[in-house]
């Protein structure tokens, strides 16, 4: 049964992977830095590897959804990310897509 558990873990991970971008965009209403984002998501029950999140943030910035700024203040420099206007638009549309998907899936899984 160990093999079954492993398989379920892998497939669940794949399910969750699809929701990552939406979760991240959701949490970036205000400017956040990488690690704080990790912690905030943890609190909401979403586990994410920092080594996955950081490159993801860079990618989203490259795609124009986020913008970053180094904050030199306090004890050490931190890189803060926040959504761009374009990011806001895309986020809204993605949210819409998500409700469609969840409706479809609920209907499907009830049959």
């Amino acid at each position: 049964m160990n093999a079954e558990k492993d398989l379920i873990d892998i497939l669940t991970l794949e399910l969750r992977r699809g929701t990552l971008v939406l979760s991240v965009l959701n949490q970036l209403n205000n400017a956040q830095y990488g690690y704080s984002l990790v912690q905030m998501l943890e609190e909401k029950g979403i586990t994410i590897d920092p080594s996955t999140l950081y490159p993801l943030l860079r990618r989203l910035e490259k795609q124009g959804l986020l913008t970053s700024k180094w904050d030199m203040g306090e004890s050490k420099p931190r890189k803060y990310y926040s959504r761009t206007e374009y990011g806001d638009e895309v986020y809204k549309k993605l949210k819409g897509q998500w409700s469609i998907i969840t409706k479809e899936m609920s209907r499907l899984l009830e049959e």
Binding site: Y33, G34, Y35, P50, S51, T52, Y54, P55, R58, R59, K76, P77, R78, K79
Partner: protein, 336 residues
């Protein structure tokens, strides 16, 4: 003081080992990011164990992989199949070619001292070309992969079902193995004809001395041989075309007819136009074997008055027409 620098050393090493795998422009930024992250994770952890933190972050190679934009392939999935195919063809050709060459050298004794000589030939004539061709083909495909990655943004025509090639009717297919075997035999034959015609004959060993009584008349060999080779080469072209196209069609039919006709013509020239056979053959046989004159006397008659040539020519014409006829039949029968 000592403990702190130990941690710093590890962090420095980790960051260095990660960012060195990434493009130059990104190194500083990502480096800072990682240091930041390690710092945060250390603050979070109870036991401030730097090694645990770094293990949690993962191997630098894995970390770098996550930061990369795209996969790094020497030869990516798109080109790999073609690459393997080309490599197979090139290697097969080299193996066959050097195999023939070495075999001929052994037979005609141009390699002295068999074991050492053969090993040397195999390495220089066989292994070396294989290795260097591997490098060259790989280099070419790696270059293609690199260029394609650059061209990725260019749009190409969208695929439509209209572009699908026809499914060939099974009976229409020409067996690749037949073509390949035929090509190999033809190459070997050409090689032998060109470099060791005296092999075609009877071999006699007498007190450790081997000699051959050749079947062919060596005097006209410098006319006969090129004609032989040309005829075989025509057959070779026919086979290669069959291998490439792979199914019966008008082109194959035309090539088959043309090559068949040419081969018959050349065979006629060689067999009827030249004194091809070694006229001393029968008498040399007699001399060596010294057996019953009468039976050999008959052989001599057959040999020297052209019946042999006619016989062989007849066989050749028959076989060629049979082959061409088969091709024509298959092509016409299964045409849509």
């Amino acid at each position: 003081m000592d403990e702190k620098s130990k941690i710093d050393v590890l962090i420095d090493r980790y960051v260095f080992d990660t960012v060195r795998r990434l493009p130059k422009e990104q190194r500083e930024d990502i480096g800072l990011e990682i240091r930041d992250l390690i710092d945060d994770m250390m603050n979070e952890s109870m036991d401030k164990d730097i090694e645990k933190v770094l293990i949690e972050l993962g191997e630098p190679s894995e970390m770098a992989k996550k930061y990369r934009d795209r996969e790094q392939y020497l030869i990516g999935p798109e080109y790999f199949d073609t690459y393997i195919l080309v490599m197979k063809i090139v290697w097969l050709s080299i193996i066959i070619g050097s195999g023939i060459s070495i075999t001929i050298q052994i037979i005609s004794n141009t390699i002295s001292n068999h074991v050492a000589g053969v090993t040397n030939s195999v390495i220089s004539g066989g292994v070396f070309p294989l290795l260097s061709s591997f490098g060259l083909v790989t280099l070419i495909f790696a270059f293609l992969e690199h260029q394609k990655v650059k061209l990725n943004t260019k749009t190409k025509e969208a695929w439509t079902p209209a572009k699908l090639p026809e499914v060939p009717n099974e009976k229409m297919l020409i067996k690749r193995s037949d073509s390949i075997v035929s090509i190999i035999f033809t190459l070997v034959f050409i090689g032998l004809l060109m470099f060791a015609p005296q092999l075609f004959g009877i071999w006699i060993t007498n007190d450790g001395v081997t000699r051959t009584i050749p079947v062919f008349n060596m005097a006209v060999w410098n006319i006969a041989m090129p004609l032989f080779v040309i005829s075989l080469a025509i057959g070779l072209v026919d086979d290669i075309i069959r291998l490439v196209i792979g199914k019966y069609c008008t082109v194959i039919m035309a090539v088959s007819i043309v090559s068949g006709m040419l081969q018959i013509i050349i065979a006629t020239i060689i067999l009827k136009g030249l004194p091809l056979w070694n006229s001393n053959f029968a008498s040399e046989m007699k001399a060596v074997f010294g057996i019953a004159m009468t039976s050999l006397g008959e052989v001599e008659i057959i040999w020297n008055n052209g019946n042999l040539s006619n016989l062989i020519l007849g066989i050749i014409i028959f076989a060629t027409l049979l082959g061409v006829g088969n091709t024509v039949y298959k092509t016409l029968r299964f045409r849509e």
